[in-house]
């Protein structure tokens, strides 16, 4: 064992000395790995960035919230079975909450109705169009994370009195009030005056899904008064324990059937959705993009590995006599194998380190230039990058190192 450690030590020294004495060659060879590692890590960064953005979008939905809606979120192939369904009414929230309160040990906490419609919002000369106007109750913050830059959510009183108050998403506020705080100011939603109560904190958006940055929230009674035409509603129900989501779903299904007064022989004419439904639709797409991306960038790393293999073969050839001498002095096969494996690996590690530095700098630059682009350089990525370089070195060095270790000492000594 001690002998092994000394041999490994010795091999690192040799590898280092080799690189020093063949600087140009080593750098050019490492360049292949550098490019490969940069490509792979940037791809990895992009993928984790996409994943993070995706998860963030998903978390806006909440992983402990069930959505009672007219249609399923996942794509269906038999749409005709769904088209005659009755709408979901915001009024369902009240009986649902009553029943939840009456059920001992219920898996559900609270039901909150929301209604959505698309309208234009105006302030002075500024106008933004195609904004989601969402009507809900003062209970909304209980089921969804609502962060405020300024102001507050509307209260129960403002809800019941159908006050003309609203909350602006970050982007909406930014577009309508570029140079002043919107707090307490008036905006016009489809011609109706609303007072701004609060401004949401920036959430970021991804896939164009559910960005809270570009919505306006108003009290539900106010919403019904002005925007009920063409609106779509759902009921959001918070679950007590997200590990028991299936139980909660069953319970909610039962409650909804009672609310809708469905006889036992009738099928459900509503859907209970959760973010999982989205995930299961989008995950395969996302995964195959990631896989294809990694495969293509992996090819560049593969080319780098071929370069390493090639140069290690050259090195073995050049130093045949040295190998012979080492064998004569008592180097075993393993010793020689190790020596050349460590040489190729150290080249890859060098390339990997430089590559990771480049990748880090590029990530930093991209993050600076395009703040909205979800890119993340993580410590885990560095670990993976280093692991990949070491692995590349071992794989590409193996064939030349093996051939060196198998050299016949007599032939090797005679080699000129």
């Amino acid at each position: 064992m001690k002998r092994f450690i000394y041999e490994v030590n010795e091999s690192w020294k040799i590898a280092f000395a080799q690189m020093q004495s063949n600087k140009t060659r080593s750098m050019l060879t490492a360049l292949g790995v550098i490019i490969g590692i940069v490509a792979v890590t940037l791809m990895g960064t992009a993928i984790t960035g996409i994943q993070t953005g995706f998860d963030k979008s998903m978390s806006i939905l909440g992983d402990d919230v069930l959505y009672v809606s007219q249609f399923p979120w996942a794509r269906v192939n038999d749409w005709w079975n769904y088209r005659d369904r009755r709408e979901i009414k915001t009024d369902y929230a009240e009986p649902l909450n009553r029943m939840i309160a009456a059920t001992p040990n219920s898996n559900l906490i609270i039901a909150v109705p929301t209604s959505n419609v698309v309208r234009n919002v105006k302030q002075g000369d500024y106008q933004v169009s195609g904004i989601f106007i969402q009507g809900t109750t003062a209970d909304y913050p209980l089921i969804s994370v609502v962060d405020f830059d300024e102001g507050r959510f509307f209260n129960d009183l403002e809800t019941r009195t159908a006050a003309n108050v609203c909350l602006l998403g970050y982007d909406v506020a930014d577009a309508l009030f570029p140079s002043q705080s919107p707090l307490g100011k008036e905006v016009q939603i489809a011609g109706v005056q609303f007072r701004v109560l609060g401004i949401g904190a920036r959430q970021g958006s991804f896939l164009g899904l559910f960005s809270l940055d570009s919505i306006v929230i108003v009290p539900l009674p106010t919403f019904k008064k002005f925007f009920s035409a063409k609106s779509e509603s759902d009921i959001r129900v918070k679950v007590r324990d997200k590990l028991k989501l299936a139980d909660a779903k069953d319970e909610l299904t039962g409650l909804m059937r009672r609310v809708r007064a469905l006889p036992p022989e009738k099928k459900n004419d509503f859907n209970i959705n959760e973010q999982q439904a989205f995930k299961s639709t989008l995950d395969p797409v996302k995964n195959s993009i990631a896989l294809a991306g990694l495969f293509i960038t992996g090819l560049s790393l593969f080319v780098g590995a071929i370069g390493i293999m090639n140069i290690t073969f050259v090195s073995v050839k050049e130093r045949t006599k040295e190998i012979g001498t080492r064998k004569a002095l008592g180097a075993r096969r393993r010793t020689i194998l190790l020596q050349f494996l460590i040489e190729s690996t150290s080249l890859c590690i060098l390339g990997g380190l430089i590559g990771l530095t480049f990748a880090y700098a590029m990530c930093f630059g991209i993050a600076r230039a395009f703040p909205s682009f979800p890119i993340q350089f993580s410590f885990g990525l560095v670990l993976i990058g280093m692991f990949v370089s070491i692995f590349t070195g071992l794989i590409s060095g193996f064939a030349p190192a093996w051939s060196a270790s198998r050299l016949d000492p007599v032939t090797a000594l005679r080699y000129e």
Partner: protein
């Protein structure tokens, strides 16, 4: 004057070779490099192996150096059967028992003298402190105590060969196998190397010299002539300078 070898008690047998042969297949032809060589070498012998090229001299040296195994016959090194050993076992024998001195020195060009001499000790699994100590001592023994941190290209030919000898000695081998040790040196430096070998012999080392030069072989106490893969003659003799001394 008495023959120094006759009064010196013969040591135990180090190398015992019986009827070894070696043949190579080269294309269609089979080359018989050794056709049955039997040889015993005792501890503290100074032996020269001579012969023209093609006599099997190099092949025999490779056998003796455990770099190669015979096609048939038996080879015992310190009582261990070497002829059936695998590569790694042979490497261990070479590391522990044999010190090589090559015509072309075979030093690692980018390493200092000290690091070159340390090499066999690394393969022997000896710790760094002991390694450096022993390598330094070995270099001092060959008179290179002041050249430890020089690289081969900073040394003269004679100094390089002395580094190689220090490297051969560092692991206290049973035999020192010198293959044309003066072949790349001028005659004066060659003589220096030969007197160094003579010293080693006087200090109890076993030396096997492979050469085709008679005046180099004359330093040995026993000379074996090979021809066509067999031992042609095996003679014990007085070394040249001792004979001169005897006549004065």
């Amino acid at each position: 004057m008495l023959n120094t070898d006759t009064i010196r008690p013969r040591g135990p047998i180090v190398i015992n070779i019986e009827n070894i042969t070696k043949h190579y297949v080269m294309g269609e032809e089979t080359v018989h490099a050794l056709r049955g060589v039997t040889l015993q070498i005792h501890r503290n012998e100074y032996l020269a192996i001579m012969g023209p090229s093609g006599s099997g001299k190099s092949t025999l040296m490779n056998m003796l150096g455990c770099l190669d195994t015979p096609s048939s016959g038996s080879y015992e090194f310190n009582g261990k059967d070497v002829s059936a050993m695998n590569d790694d076992e042979l490497a261990t024998i070479r590391n522990h028992e044999i010190g090589f001195v090559f015509q072309t020195f075979n030093l690692l060009p980018r390493s200092t003298s000290l690091r070159n001499v340390e090499l066999p000790l690394i393969y022997a699994g000896i710790d760094p402190e002991t390694r450096e100590e022993r390598a330094a001592q070995s270099l001092r023994d060959v008179g290179l105590g002041d050249r430890m941190y020089h690289k081969p290209n900073e040394l003269s030919g004679g100094q390089r060969q002395r580094v190689a000898i220090a490297r051969a000695l560092v692991n206290n081998p049973s035999i020192i196998l010198a293959d044309e040790p003066t072949g790349n040196l001028d005659s004066r430096t060659g003589e220096e190397i030969m007197s160094l070998l003579e010293n080693l012999y006087q200090n109890g080392n076993t030396i096997i010299l492979v050469t085709h030069e008679a005046d180099i072989a004359a330093h040995a106490r026993r000379t074996i002539h090979l021809r066509d893969g067999v031992v042609e003659s095996d003679a014990t003799s007085e070394p040249a300078e001792f004979q001169t001394l005897a006549f004065t």
